[in-house]
Amino acid sequence: MNNLLKVEWYKLQRNKSFWVITLTVSALSVLFHCLIITEWWMMSGTPFDAAGLGELNGLGVFTVPFIFNLIVASLAGFFISGEFSNNGIIRTQMMSGHNRSKIYLAKYLIFSFGSLMITILIPLITALIIVSAFGYAEIWSVENLQFLSRAYSLFTIQFLGYTAIIMLLSIITEESGKTILFSILLNIVMIGMQQFPSESIVGVIYNYSIFQQFSDVFTPMMLGREQIKAIVIGLWTIFVITVCGMFLFNRKEIK
């Protein structure tokens, strides 16, 4: 497993798309934070606004599934699916004498780490730097930091559930374009599900999904049971989707 993790990390470091997405997100993140702090862009109604952290409204962009999906799905497309279509590079890995479940898990872990870095860490770090540089360092109070660490810890669990879904999608489609396309369709379906009344079956399913949790975890005050609910939904999604992915990957015939 150690060798598989090392090799995935080696590949990620040398993946052009990973660096292009990283630089793009870094640039966009800097731009959003600057525009919002200098009030060139008036943004309101974000979860950060509700928590009294309007200076961090730029982070709100990266917590919307429809937006961060573009980052995650692009990385999955070029990092995971690309190995199936690009000269069938996946073949050498499948013949390397490693258990297929372990290969899948190593890919999931490194892909999730890469996605996490681009989607969560970079915007957070740029926010920290820019907000401080523009003289708003006082927002880093203990209370606000507690809110941010609770919200982002729970968000990260949901996010790992989402990367598990996109990973599964990329293994099924085996093509970068299709991975991105189907991930957008998935988001459209989820937006559609969101419109159902909460007492309907579809509404209940949506309420107990990571998609509802993506916004719930940023609620300024969260009860203990709500936090447990978020953790259970996130971990359950990661577990179920990853097991499904491993099952499919073990039965997949490589062209």
Partner: protein, 307 residues
């Protein structure tokens, strides 16, 4: 340890209603260079994909290194190196980086193994060049290098000659012969280029439309493809004496029907005819016979068509 490095029993692969492979019983002995001959689409790559675990059989079993437990596949994979269809390489990485990925993946200690392989496949000077700028031949050599990196006991090469220039073909042939002789690596090499396989392989398997038509050693194939003079005379025993005494040859055999197969004097039919007739033998038939490699292959394929 089993004398066979690979055996398949009734191996079948079916896609919907089409058989890509049907009841294939393949036997590859340790130390052999096994040439797997078949036309395009005959099922060569499918068989190699089943052996390496990229695809799964519909029916039948595969025995790797004497072990037919499907759970032993991952262990078998560690002892195999393979190049299936086109070389699977990262185009934006250098030859060195492509090999480094395989080295880390397989847990091979020390980077010197990479240099050894680059030296072996003749890519040392271009080790830092990106693979996307490689010629097809260079990619093919790097693909073979990757297959050899883990020091495998069994090497599977699917159409490795594709894309190579004449010099590259000769170099590859020598490379395969060397690793087989010096390191004792068993090689399974598939190709539709008969002449090339004939120069290399010690055993052959002929596949057609998913069925293994015949397995034979190089010696048996040579015998079958050997040219001879077919002689039919009224007294074969006397003809035999004439051949031995007058023409000083013992390179012939007398068949059950009295026909003589003479493997000598192929370019001098007149001398043979004269020697026999001068001794008063009545010549009923004299002709040059025997299959070329291509015609033998065609004959086997044709038999398969009529089955």
């Amino acid at each position: 340890m089993s004398e066979y490095i690979l055996r398949t029993k009734n191996l079948t692969k079916k896609y919907k209603h089409n058989y890509a492979l049907e009841n294939v019983n393949l036997n590859i002995k340790q130390g052999e260079i096994y040439g797997f001959i078949g036309q395009n689409g005959a099922g060569k790559s499918t068989l190699l994909r089943l052996i390496t675990g990229l695809a799964f059989p519909t029916e039948g079993t595969i025995e790797w290194f004497g072990n037919d437990d499907p759970k032993g596949l991952t262990n078998a994979q560690k002892r195999m190196g393979a190049l299936i269809e086109s070389p699977a390489l990262f185009p934006n990485m250098s030859a060195f980086e492509n090999l480094e990925i395989q080295r880390i993946q397989r847990g091979i200690p020390g980077r010197e193994s990479i240099d050894n392989i680059l030296q072996l496949v003749g890519l040392m000077d271009t080790k830092n060049k990106k693979v996307k700028n490689f010629s097809m031949g260079m990619k093919q050599r790097l693909g073979i290098g990757i297959a050899l990196l883990s020091d495998p006991e069994f090497l599977l090469l699917d159409e490795p000659i594709n894309g190579l220039d004449p010099t590259g073909i000769v170099e590859l042939r020598e490379l395969i012969k060397n690793i087989n002789h010096e390191k004792g690596i068993t090689v399974l090499i598939s190709s539709h280029i008969l002449s090339e396989l004939h120069l290399l392989a010690t055993s052959f398997g002929i596949i057609h439309k998913g069925k293994l038509m015949e397995e034979l050693t190089a010696k048996e194939l040579d015998e079958k493809c050997r040219q001879y003079l077919q002689i039919k005379v009224d007294r074969p025993a006397i003809a035999s004496t004439v051949l031995e005494q007058e023409l000083a040859t013992s390179d012939f055999e007398i068949m059950q029907d009295g026909t003589i197969k003479l493997y000598d004097y192929l370019d001098d039919i007149r001398t043979v005819s004269l020697a026999l007739t001068q001794k008063g033998l009545i010549m009923e038939h004299l002709s040059q016979n025997g299959d070329s490699l291509e015609s033998y292959f065609s004959k086997v394929i044709e038999e398969g068509e009529h089955e």
